[in-house]
């Protein structure tokens, strides 16, 4: 890539005033570093990934409202986690976390376990039981 070809697309980074470093060659063919504001192909990829996450969140929310899953799954999606990540944050096995997605099990959870989940999600236990506090 030539120095002048380093893309300066609107990467959504400007508002945070962040530029990233790219490697490119100058007129003499020598390598140098150039700051870039972004490149469309990866901005689109990132946007799509975020949209995907939002779909997952909305889907989880709907299933909580339908009584098909517990708010834990909803908050997990809000925090861009998967079961493996959440399990390691609360110090449980994945099958235990999956179990806690079941509404019946969730309603029987001890205060202690609820507090663990709540602290991982940075909310109170009351908020954990109510999905209106996610993003």
């Amino acid at each position: 890539m030539k120095k002048n070809d380093v893309p300066q697309d609107d990467g959504g980074l400007e508002k945070d005033n962040i530029k990233e470093l790219c490697y490119a060659v100058d007129e003499k063919g020598e390598y140098t570093t150039i700051k870039s504001t972004g490149w469309d192909p990866k901005t689109i990829a990132l946007d799509n990934a975020l949209q995907e996450i939002n779909e997952r969140i909305n889907n989880a929310k709907e299933r909580v409202l339908n009584g098909e899953t517990s708010p834990i799954e909803y908050y997990m999606e809000c925090h861009k986690m998967d079961i493996g990540i959440l399990a390691s944050y609360v110090g449980k096995f994945q099958w235990q976390v999956k179990n806690h997605f079941k509404v019946k099990k969730f309603n029987k959870l001890s205060e202690k376990t609820l507090a663990k989940y709540a602290s991982v999600f940075d909310i109170s236990i009351d908020q954990l039981k109510d999905i209106n506090y996610g993003n």
């Binding site: 890539m1 380093v6 959504g12 980074l13 508002k15 945070d16 005033n17 962040i18 530029k19 990233e20 470093l21 790219c22 490697y23 490119a24 060659v25 063919g29 020598e30 390598y31 570093t33 700051k35 490149w39 469309d40 192909p41 990866k42 689109i44 990829a45 990132l46 799509n48 990934a49 975020l50 995907e52 925090h79 861009k80 986690m81 998967d82 493996g84 990540i85 390691s88 944050y89």
Partner: protein
């Protein structure tokens, strides 16, 4: 307390921490040098493992490897510490800062408050340097940021004890012993040989073969996974290749810069030629990303389009195979 430390922005965090710590200790080592000597370049498609609900594709070696190999090959000793308790981790950090010793830390990205929200994913192999403390604020030099920043002790504890894959457990590291002069020449040769071995490895998911494996899967995805998932997967590959930290083209440009610098140090003209070739291969990776983005932008691509980007990858694999065979002979 603040250590007199100069922040240099780099493309990638691990290279950057090593390069900046070396500079602080009086050794001028560029980012591409760290990356090349540490044999950072790779391609690997890890089957069965999913990251952000998509296949795990990496363009670099495992976190920590670059520094480990760089230190071994240049004769530096590093001290590494991991902790069970956050309190102990904090105390050891403060001790080092009191001794005017800036340290590298492995951290999770998700709770890094100075990162833009959209970049905060559960990725635990980010690296930064702490170079001081003012009241409750730690002074942070994050190599991928343009300038220095700060984190409160609570924020720092959160990122040092992030959970999930590659959980840092407070991982702290710093060089403790240096040779009088770095033996760069032999280190370069060792670094290059290692990378050639990795890229030409007879393992179906690593190096050249790994690229071909990914290409083969891309052809299958629209049928086996449906267009929506196929596009998500394709987007993930492009993100791994181009997201902040690779310097563009899945680290290929940084590697070309390393070969150029090495050709001067070793007085080896063929490395300069190979650097140009690597730049062209980097351009092909960029073309692949551009073409792939056209597919996931429209969200309604034909199978043809997937075959086209898969073919692009296969051409790259062919070129890299020839390239690394030549590179192996050039040193």
């Amino acid at each position: 307390m603040e250590i007199n430390f100069t922040h240099h922005q780099t493309a990638h965090c691990e290279n950057g921490v090593v390069s900046n710590l070396m500079k602080h200790n009086g050794f001028k080592v560029s980012e591409p040098m760290v990356f090349g000597i540490g044999s950072g370049l790779l391609f690997c498609h890890i089957p069965f493992l999913k990251v952000n609900h998509a296949p795990a594709v990496t363009y670099r070696v495992m976190p920590g490897q670059i520094f480990k190999r760089f230190a071994k090959r240049t004769g530096i000793k590093i001290k590494k510490e991991k902790f069970k308790s956050p309190k102990q981790a904090k105390d050891r950090l403060d001790e080092n800062l009191k001794k005017d010793n800036p340290v590298g830390l492995q951290v999770g990205v998700y709770n890094l408050t100075y990162f833009p929200d959209e970049y905060r994913f559960h990725f635990n192999a980010h690296n930064l340097i702490v170079y001081g403390k003012e009241n409750d604020n730690y002074l942070i030099s994050d190599p991928v940021m343009e300038t220095v920043t700060t984190l409160t002790s609570k924020e720092l504890e959160k990122v040092r004890f992030a959970k999930g894959a590659f959980a840092p457990n407070g991982h702290m590291y710093y060089p403790i012993d240096f040779p009088k002069e770095l033996d760069i020449n032999t280190a370069i040769v060792k670094g290059i040989k290692n990378t050639c071995r990795d890229m030409l490895a007879p393992v179906p998911i690593v190096g050249i073969k790994g690229i071909r494996y990914t290409a083969k899967l891309i052809r299958k995805w629209p049928k086996s996974k449906g267009v929506k998932v196929a596009n998500h997967y394709l987007g993930q590959i492009v993100r791994m290749q181009e997201e902040i930290g690779t310097g563009g083209g899945g680290f290929r440009y940084i590697y070309a810069a390393f070969l150029q610098e090495s050709s001067k140090i070793l007085n080896n003209n063929s490395l300069a030629e190979l650097s140009k070739e690597m730049t062209e291969i980097g351009d092909l990776w960029r073309d692949f990303a551009l073409e792939a983005s056209r597919i996931y932008k429209n969200r309604s691509a034909k199978t043809d389009a997937y075959n086209k980007v898969a073919s692009q990858l296969e051409i790259i694999a062919d070129k890299e195979e020839i390239f690394f065979k030549k590179l192996k002979k050039a040193i």
